[in-house]
Symmetry: C2
DNA sequence: CCGTATCCATTCCGATACTG
DNA sequence: CAGTATCGGAATGGATACGG
C-alpha cells in the first residue's frame, strides 16, 4: 500500500505542510510522472485527498486524510530509526520538535496498556484464526 | 534501506522468532532467489546477522542485531495502521499481545519528553543545517 | 535443507517533450 | 503551475533448475 520508493516520503512531506504538486516535486526531486502516479494512488487509497484551493485556482491541494494522519507514529518511528542508525552526527539535518517548547519529541516506545515499556521478546503475535501461514514456532 | 517489498516482512518475521532460511521462505511465500538477496542485504546493512546454529550444522540462523531490534516501534506502528485501516474486522488474523497478561499492546503514541501526547500539527521539523531542500513554508 | 544461477516478466523510475 | 505522454533503463520479483 505504501511500499514503493516515494509514497512514504510524500506522506512525510505532507506532514511537514507540503500541499502543492510542484512543492512535492521540487522538495523530493522526483520526476513529475512518478509523482503524478503516486499522488493519484495515495488519493485512491484514502491516504490523501484533494482539496480545492481557497478561491480561484484551476488546481487543488493534496492533504492528509484521517487515515493518512494515522501514519504519524510510523513516520516518526522511521525518522527516529534513521537518525539513530543511518546518519552520523555530522549529516543529521533536522529534528522533530514540539511547537510549544521547541524540544525534540520523545522516543517512541511500545507499551502495555498499563503503561509498562515492552521489549520485542516480551510480546507475541497471537493468531486469531489460523489461516495459510504455517503456525511455525514463533516467539519464544 | 528497507524500502522494497520484502525486507520489512522479513524483519517482522524475525521479530516473531523466525530464524531459518526455509522458514522465511515458506512463511512469506517469497522466491528463494529474492530471499537470498534480501537476507544478504539486511546482513550487509547491519539489520540482521548470521549466527552459527548451536552444534553441528552447515548453515546459520539469521537473527536481528541491535539495529534491527530498534525497528520494533516501526513494525508495531505499521501493524497497528494496517489493522486499523487495511483490514475489516473479518479478515483480521492476528494481534500483538503482551506475553505475561495476554493483553494486546497499547497503541503507539508520539509524546513529548514530558509525556504529553502530541498531534502532528503540534510538531515541526526543525532544520539544523539548511541543505538542499527549499525551506518551503512548513508546519503551520 | 540451504542456497546459487539463469531466464523472463513486471514494475518502477528518470528524462524529456508536450498541453492547458 | 500542474499535469500527461512516451521512451528506455534499472530494479524487482517469480519459476525453475542446479549444486553443496
Amino acid at each position: 500500500m505504501i511500499g514503493d520508493r516515494w509514497s512514504l516520503l510524500i506522506v512525510r512531506d505532507a506532514f511537514d505542510g507540503v500541499r502543492r504538486f510542484g512543492e512535492f516535486q521540487r522538495g523530493l526531486g522526483v520526476s513529475k510522472g512518478i509523482l503524478s502516479t503516486r499522488l493519484r494512488e495515495l488519493v485512491a487509497r484514502g491516504v490523501l485527498e484533494t482539496e480545492p484551493v481557497s478561491d480561484e485556482s484551476a488546481y487543488q491541494d493534496y492533504v492528509l486524510t484521517a487515515k493518512g494522519r494515522d501514519l504519524f507514529p510510523l513516520i516518526v518511528a522511521l525518522r527516529q530509526w534513521g537518525e539513530d542508525h543511518c546518519f552520523g552526527p555530522a549529516e543529521r539535518h533536522s529534528a522533530l520538535v514540539e511547537n510549544e517548547t521547541g524540544e525534540p519529541v520523545g522516543r517512541l516506545e511500545v507499551r502495555s496498556k498499563s503503561g509498562r515499556k515492552l521489549t520485542p521478546s516480551e510480546t507475541t503475535v497471537h493468531k486469531l484464526s489460523a489461516q495459510r501461514r504455517a503456525a511455525g514456532r514463533r516467539g519464544k
